[in-house]
Subunit: 295 residues, 2 copies
C-alpha cells in the first residue's frame, strides 16, 4: 500500500460510517427501498470522489469531520446516477461492481425510487450538518446541485450522451459530454473540500482547474478500461461503450494515442496546482492513481 | 371567480414566471432535456402546492417575493415525482393533465433525466435565493428533502404504494401511504411558508397539523375523482387505481362514506388553525377548494 492508498482506505472507512448513519437501515420500512439504496451504496465502490473531497479539504487544512457530509453527499449523488444510468431505458446494464445492478436485484420501479431518494438524502445531509458554517453549506448545496444538474452538469451530460448514440462526434463534442457527465461532479468534490477548508477565490479557481482535468482523466481511463479489460476484472460489462457506438477516446484516437493523452492531462492537472502555496502531494498522488488505475 | 380562485391564479402567474427563470430555455443544450422538463412543468398544473406556500406565508405576513423560491422548488419536486410515477416501470400512464406523459413524448431515458434534474434545480433554487435568511434556506432545504425522501416522505410513500399493489390494506396502512406520498410535501409547502413568515414553533406545529389534514383531504378527493370522473374531464386515465387494485378510500369505504370522511377531515384541518392568532381565511378557503375540487 502506498500513502495515497492508505489515505483512500481511511477516507472510505470514514465516509462509509457516515453514509451508514445517513441512510435508514434495511429493517426500516419501506425495507425494499432501503435495501436497494444500500445494495448500490455499499457495493465496494472505490470512493474516489470522497477521497478528492478529503484531499482538497486537507490541502487547505480542513479537518476530516468537517468534510464527511460533503463527501457522503457527493457519493450519494454519484450512486444515484449509476443506478439510473444502469436502467433498461438508459444503458441497460445487468452488472455493476461485479454484482447485479439495482434494477436487476430489486426491479425497475424500486431502482428509480432508490436513485431519487439518494438525491434527496444528499442535499439533506449537507443542510443538516451544523458543524459547517451556514453560508458554506449553502455554497456546497448550490455547487453540487449545479454540478449534478443542467445545463453543464451530470444530468445534462447524460442527455448529451444519449443524444449522441450512433453518431460520430468531434473530439470537442466528446470532451464536452465527459466534462458535464463526469467532470462536473469530480470538480465539485474538489471545490467542496477547498470551500470547507477556507480557500480564497484564486485557490478555488486553481482547484477547479485541477479537478476539471482530473475528471477528464477519469473518463479517459474509464474508456480505456472498457476496451482493454475483461468483464470479470472490470466488475461491469466490458466493451459496452463500443457495442453501443458511444463516443469514446479510444474509439476516436486508438488505444496508444489515448494513453499518451491521459499522461498529458495528468500533467496539466498537476500543473494547475503550482499556484497554490500549499502541500499538494496528495492531490498529485490522486492524479497518478487515476492515471494508473486498473479498475 | 371567488377570492381564493383569484389568489391561486395570481400565485400561478408568480410561480410560473420564476419557474421559467429557473429552468434553462428549450433552445439551450441539451434541448431535449429542457423541452421535456418544460413539457411537464408547464402543462396546466393547478399549482396547489405553491398556493399553499403563499397562503401559509401570507398568513404570517411574508411578502410574495420571499415565498416564490420555495413555491417553485416544491412544484419542481412535485413535477419530478409525477414524471417518474408515470413511467412504464411505475404507473405506466400515457396521459397526464390531458396530454402525453413525459416519457410518451420524449422517451423513457429523457423522462428519467428530466425528473432527476428537476430535483437538483429545486434545491439549487432555494440555496441561491439570497433574499431569504441563510438559516431559513437551510431549514427549507432540510424540510423539503425530508418531505420528498425517506423514511416518511414522498419516495417512501411511493415505495409502500408499490409494495401494496394487489394486497388488501387496512385503512391505517392506506392513510400511512397517503400521508407519506402526498401529505408530506403538502405539509412541507405550508410549513415552508410559515418558516419564511417567521412563525414560532407552536405556530409551525398548528400549520403542520392543518397541512397534514389538507394532504389527506387532497388524496381522498383524488381517489374520489378517479372513480367518479371520466378520463376526458380528469385529464389523466380514470379508473386506473381500481384497475391496478391500488389501495384507495372509495375502494375501502364506498363513495358515499368517503365523501362524508372528506368533509370531516376538512373540518379537522380548519380546526387546527384555531390556535393561530392570525387571519386564517385563505387557509380555510384552500381547504374548501380541495374538498370541492372537480379535477
Amino acid at each position: 500500500m502506498t500513502a495515497v492508498d492508505d489515505f483512500i482506505a481511511a477516507g472510505r472507512l470514514d465516509v462509509d460510517r457516515v453514509l451508514d448513519e445517513l441512510v435508514p437501515d434495511a429493517a426500516t420500512e419501506p425495507r425494499r427501498l432501503h435495501e436497494a439504496v444500500r445494495w448500490s451504496l455499499f457495493s465496494g465502490g472505490k470512493r474516489i470522489r470522497p477521497a478528492i473531497v478529503f484531499a482538497a479539504g486537507g490541502t487547505f487544512g480542513a479537518e476530516r469531520g468537517l468534510l464527511v457530509a460533503a463527501a457522503a453527499a457527493i457519493e450519494m449523488i454519484h450512486t444515484y446516477s449509476l443506478i439510473h444510468d444502469d436502467l433498461p431505458a438508459m444503458d441497460d446494464d445487468d452488472l455493476r461492481r461485479g454484482r447485479a445492478t439495482c434494477h436487476k436485484q430489486f426491479g425497475e420501479a424500486t431502482a428509480i425510487l432508490a436513485g431519487d431518494v439518494l438525491q434527496a438524502l444528499a442535499f439533506k445531509a449537507i443542510a443538516r450538518d451544523d458543524s459547517i458554517a451556514e453560508s458554506d453549506r449553502l455554497r456546497l448545496i448550490s455547487l453540487i446541485a449545479e454540478a449534478s444538474g443542467t445545463p453543464s452538469g451530470m444530468v445534462a451530460g447524460q442527455q448529451l450522451d444519449l443524444d449522441a448514440e450512433g453518431s460520430v462526434l468531434s473530439i470537442e463534442a466528446i470532451e464536452r459530454i465527459h466534462s458535464f457527465k463526469t467532470g462536473a461532479l469530480i470538480s465539485a468534490a474538489a471545490v467542496s473540500g477547498a470551500i470547507i477548508g477556507g480557500g480564497d477565490m484564486d485557490e478555488l479557481k486553481a482547484i477547479a482547474l485541477y479537478a476539471g482535468k482530473l475528471g477528464l482523466l477519469f473518463q479517459i481511463t474509464d474508456d480505456l478500461l472498457d476496451v482493454t479489460q475483461q468483464t470479470e476484472t472490470l466488475g461491469k460489462t466490458a466493451g459496452k461503450d463500443a457495442a453501443a457506438a458511444k463516443a469514446t477516446y479510444p474509439g476516436h484516437y486508438g488505444i496508444d494515442q489515448t494513453r499518451a493523452m491521459a499522461l498529458g492531462i495528468r500533467n496539466e492537472a498537476c500543473g494547475a496546482l503550482r499556484s497554490l502555496k500549499r502541500d499538494t502531494q496528495l492531490l498529485t498522488a490522486l492524479a497518478d492513481l487515476i492515471l494508473n488505475r486498473t479498475r
